[in-house]
């Protein structure tokens, strides 16, 4: 899976349980046709380092758009324009996590990775799949490969 905040599952959730929400950003540079991804420092709750799309969990009382933009600024150094939701999925590995993906474009700021990011990099859309260790949803992949 390509996000950072998912914790190891402790107990099986019930079908009517609510979800944890992750806001995930697809930060796209239309001029260079590249996507921004990052890799976290080693985390005791995650087995190994992996590349992810920058994102954040959502808390009660937070506005989706503002939260996403604020956290992306903190994590990447960039101010982004949120172009809207493009995809949503429940994680096969964690069925009580719902992710909403937003297409974003940078309009200001500088490349400044968050302190917990070991690396941050602009990559070609075609290269993403190689970087992710597990499920890259085919629908999201198709969407990203069609970005111009």
């Amino acid at each position: 899976m390509e996000e950072e905040t998912i914790k190891q599952q402790t107990e099986e959730p019930k079908s009517t349980d609510p979800f944890h929400i992750l806001l995930v950003s697809i930060i796209f540079d239309p001029k260079k046709r590249k996507i921004l991804i990052a890799r976290k420092e080693k985390d005791p709750e995650l087995q190994d380092l992996k590349w992810i799309f920058p994102g954040t969990e959502l808390h009660h009382g937070e506005d989706l758009d503002q939260t996403l933009k604020k956290r992306i600024k903190e994590k990447t150094g960039f101010k982004v324009k949120n172009l809207g939701a493009i995809f949503s999925k429940v994680y096969p590995e964690r069925k009580d996590y719902l992710a909403i993906y937003f297409l974003c474009e940078i309009f200001k700021g500088e490349f400044k990775p968050w302190k917990f990011y070991k690396e941050m990099e602009w990559v070609d859309p075609e290269e993403l799949e190689k970087r992710f260790r597990s499920s890259f949803h085919p629908r999201l992949k198709e969407y990203i490969l069609n970005l111009k």
Binding site: F19, H20, I21, L58, H60, A85, S88, V90, D96, L98
Partner: protein
Amino acid sequence: MEELDKFNAIVLGIIFDPKEKKILIGKRINDPFVPKLSWCFPGGRLKIKDEVDKALKTHIKKKTGYDINNLGAIFSKIENDKEDLLLVYFLTQVFEGVEKPGDGMTELKWIHPKELRTYFTTSFNKKLEQYLLDLV
């Protein structure tokens, strides 16, 4: 370890007819989450173990009778005054089926995006409205 907040999630379909330039809305009574709701976009609650795309299609089939193609998520918001209710909207198109209101829907109606505002009793998000106006 920090305990994350939890949200109930609703998936909703904007069923768009590109030929007629109309969107399907349904009238429902006694919505468990929003009691004052009357006209709305068809959809339903996402349950743990659901797959988003399948859940959307199942809810829409039950509520409208239609089988739809899901063209993807287009908008998401937290419901006003309900900080733990998350709504995710998908653009969809009918590909088969016979129109039949069900699963709490009492009536279905195809309307132009311009008319949507007059049907919704709850707040209609401006960003979503603009997106739908741009469809036609």
